[in-house]
Each structure stands twice: as C-alpha cells, then as structure tokens.
C-alpha cells in the first residue's frame, strides 16, 4: 500500500470523453464476464434461424394457389419472435441483476452520476443487440431466400426495398434491448421487468380482441405492428407508413429510457 504522501494527485479532472469511456469499458466488462450473457445470445442467435427456416420450408412447399399474397420477407420476421424477447431480457438483466445482488450500490458509489451508468448500460447492450441483430437478420434472410429460391420464389438482396427491410429487422432487436434496459432500471426486479416486456411485445394479441377499426387504430402504436410495417416488402396501407412506424419503434425505447433516467436519479439506491 502506498503511503498517502506518495499518492498521485487526482486533482486533474479527466475529460468527459475519458469518463464516458471509463463507464462504457466497465459496463462492457460486466456484460462479457457473466455466463447469462452468452446463454441469452445463444437463444437470440439460434431460434430465429431455426424458426425462419421452418416457416420458409412450409411456405415453399405450399401449393401454388394463394402463394402470391405472402410476403417473402415474412419468414425471417416470424423467426425473430423469440429473439426479441431474449434480447429484451438481456437488456433487463443489465440493471435487475445488479439490484438483485446489491451490486448496484457499488456501481452508483463508483459512478454517482447514475444517468451515465444508464447511458453506458444502454449503449453496451444496444451495440451488442444491433450487431447480433444485423448478423441474424442477414443470415436468416439468405437462408430463407435460399430455401424459397429452390422453389423459384426467392428474392435477391438487391431487390428494391429488401436491404432496408433486412436492416430494420436488426434494428428491432436493438429496440427491444433498449426497452429492456429501461424497464430493468425502472422496475428493478427481473420478474416484474420481464413481465412488463412480454406485455409490451405481445400487446397486439390483446388489442386484436378489440372491435375493428380500434384494433388497428391502437395497434399501429405497438412495437409489433410498427416492426411489421418497417420490415415488410409490401407494407399494409391501413396502418402507419414505414417511416411513421419507424418513429413508433424509436419512441418506445426512448420513453422507457427517459422514464428510467428520471426515476434512478431520484430514488434511493
């Protein structure tokens, strides 16, 4: 142990960029040093590929009649149904695992500016979600189209509207991870936060019970409908346009993170 006299002076205040990179590095270390991250990412990676392959095979072997209405990008989208939940859980765990163990106090004592912690956790989980999301959506696209083209129904990646739609699928995972981080910070308990996440993601199933046109009028504000509009090759005309739907997609995580930013600053840790 160094004696106090020989301590280096810490009077020089590090720049904001250095402090931001400190917190980001710390959160990245936390994410990569627990096994739950790898299990969650395994589910995120494997289920969409498997499910979209099955859906594509089913579609491809359907009789020719009635085929034409089916969006050739649909199998990949359906494949993401479980991945969005798993990546959302990864986001939830960023805070809930620290609240469950009490580690959050160490974290907030080390970084008293709690919004910096929120931002760093969101950035780290978001980056991982975006990279994994894009990898999966492109992998799943090529797999699905390979299966479909075997039956002369495939699409090329250069087909108009396709690159944007495939990119948007990756963004969907990012959006769900961000919503998860926000919910985890707000609700603090994993079970409660995951329940809220499930509710948000599968809200359209409940809204579908409303009488028309209210099911769609409210439904177009949900993550699921907005995502469907964004990734479809032929978006539905009775819902929000893809551009507006993209705004809806961004609004959900923004709202979750802003609420979290407000709450964590004022609550006792």
């Amino acid at each position: 142990m160094t004696a106090l006299e020989s301590r280096p002076a810490h009077t020089a205040v590090p720049s904001l960029a250095i402090r931001a990179s400190d917190v980001l590095t710390s959160e990245w270390t936390k994410l990569r040093s627990v096994r739950s991250t790898y299990w969650t990412l395994l589910i995120v990676g494997v289920t969409p590929i498997g499910i979209s392959a099955i859906v594509a095979l089913t579609l491809a072997t359907q009789p020719a009649a009635g085929r034409s209405q089916i969006d050739p990008l649909l199998p990949s989208f359906i494949g993401l149904e479980y991945a969005v939940l798993a990546i959302g859980v990864l986001g939830v765990l960023a805070f809930s695992s620290e609240h469950a163990t009490g580690m959050i106090r160490t974290t907030f004592a080390a970084v008293p500016r709690r919004r910096a912690v929120l931002a760093a956790k969101a950035a780290v989980a978001g980056t991982v979600a975006l990279i994994v999301g894009e990898l999966i959506s492109f992998a799943s696209f090529f797999l699905v189209q390979a299966i479909l083209s075997g039956h002369h129904r495939g699409l090329s990646v250069s087909h108009p509207g396709v690159p944007g739609a495939v990119l948007a699928e990756g963004i969907l995972l990012f959006v769900c991870a961000m919503v998860g981080v926000g919910l985890g910070a707000m609700i603090r308990h994993a079970a409660g936060a995951v329940a809220a996440l499930v509710g948000l993601i599968y809200l359209p199933a409940i809204l579908g019970l409303l009488p028309a046109p209210w099911n769609d009028r409210i439904g177009r504000f949900t993550l699921f409908y907005a995502a469907q509009q964004v990734v479809a090759l032929h978006p539905r005309t009775d819902l929000f346009s893809p551009a507006l739907s993209m705004l809806v997609l961004i609004a959900w995580p923004a709202a979750a993170l802003l609420t979290a930013a407000f709450l964590i600053t004022w609550r006792d840790a």
Partner: protein
Amino acid sequence: MIEVDRLSKRFGPVTAVDGLSFAVRPGHVTGFLGPNGAGKTTTMLIILGLDAPTSGTALVEGRRYQGIIRPLHEVGSLLDANAVHGGRTAWFHLLSVAQSNGIGRRRVTEVLQLTGLDAVADRRAGGFSLGMKQRLGIATALLGDPPVLMFDEPVNGLDTEGIQWIRQLFKSLAAEGRTVFVSSHLMSEMALTADHLIIIGRGRLIADTPTDRFVESSSRRDVLVRSPRAGELAGLLTARGAAVVPEDDGGLAVTGMDASAIGDLAAENGIAVHELVPRHASLEEAYLDITSDSVEYRAGVPTAAEVPASPGKDA
C-alpha cells in the same frame, strides 16, 4: 475527513436518522457503534450519496459525494460483502469497478494480493465463503487508494484470523493518515479496533469520544461489602475517604478503597464481613447502559443474552 451535519432521514413515519452531527477525522480508526436499527447503515448510504437525506448534509473531504469525479480515488467503501454478482470472478468484479474510475489492471492485481485473494482471482464470487467475500469487498474499497475508507460491519462472518488481519489493516490504513470509519454493533470489537467512538441510538448521537476515555469513564470499579454492622462500617469507610453508596439489598458499594484495605479496616474494628467482592463493569455493560433507551427491538428478558457477544468469540 467525513462531516455529517444535522442529518435526518425519514422513511414514512419512521425516522432512521435524527439530527445527527459528527466528524470523522483522518489518522484514526473511528468506530461507528449502535444497536441494530440505530441508523448506521442509513447514515453511510447518505454519506455515499446512495440515499438522499430528508435534511442536513454529509460531506467527504469537504464535498458532497455526488459531486466527486472518479470518487473511488477519494472514498473506498464496503457496505455489504454479499453484494457481488455470484457468476462473476473476483478478477472481473474488481476490474469492472476499477475501469469505471479509470483504475488500471495493475492495481487490481495489487489489491488481490493485498487481501490474499490472488489465488482465487479466477473463481466465481458465488462460491466464496463470507470471509472471502469480505476480503473481496475490502479489495474493492482499496482500488482507488483513497484517503477515506468506510466499512459497514466488516468483521461479520470473519474467523479469528480474519478479524486479526482486518484489525491490523485498519490500524495501518489509519497510520498512513487515512480516515477509517468502521461500523459495528459489537462494543468489544470496537474497543480493540477503534481509537475513537461515535455511538448512536435511534438515529441520534449518544457519544462522540476517544475510546480510552469512554473505557475509563464507563468502567465502574467498586467493592461490594456486606456486613451485619453495615451502618457502622460505612461510617468508618467514609472517615477514611472512601465513597459509600448503600445498595437496595443492604450491601454497600464502596469506591476509593480496595477490597484488602476494606477487610483490614473491618478486622481492626472487630466488624464481621460476610461478603467482600471487587466488581468491574465491563465495557459491554457500559455500552448497553448508554444505548439501552434506544434499542429498537428488545428481547423479552433483559439478561446476559442481550450482551451482543462475548469477547472470546469476537475478539
């Protein structure tokens, strides 16, 4: 230096901390004593900016904790040894905390060695004994080599060897000129570890005193004397300068004269003595005395069982 000024914290109808003021000075180990529920942890949480006070202020090195950039260089703390992710290794736990304050890997290795955890650095903390977790917590607190250190009940769950080690560590940290603030509900432990005591009960300050003065002033020493001619003996004793306080059961509590002198005096005057007992009130009793009004949860029978623990077990 930690300065707490008229600090209060209410949780709904419950007042956990009630107008508390004290200062913790560098170069000493300061014990923060009080029964369970006295408000020790809440006070520490407020000092670390983790809980917001209802009123009053807490300053560390003259500043509010929340305003400190890279605070681990200023204040190291251990609140709860179990507050680590069980799936993360000791190394990664320390590294993640270090990185948040711009502290390098070399320092992580150093604190692992300092706390004797270098051999288990790559093991997941979930498999650690409480003693190892305490060491990990102390390693975390030491990461930034801070001038102020705060520990909440650090000896809980440690074996004798661990307690010796921690006591030595605190003393050497204080000898280096650091402020060392250690909470405990065990008077016996603090009497051995701390130079200075801040005692609270029900969120209020009861005593703020050097340990040796507290020990001196609170260690009652007297001699219990029983005699069939107690009144006569009392007169003789007072004439020789002793102080005599009659007890309810007819005994005499004598101070200012030791047992052998009292016995000799009685013999010279042909007074029979039936009982002659030198008495020492322990530190533990003195502590119980002054905190007895402020114990939040009291056992039905106030007996020796209420004494937190025997020195043999914890010292």
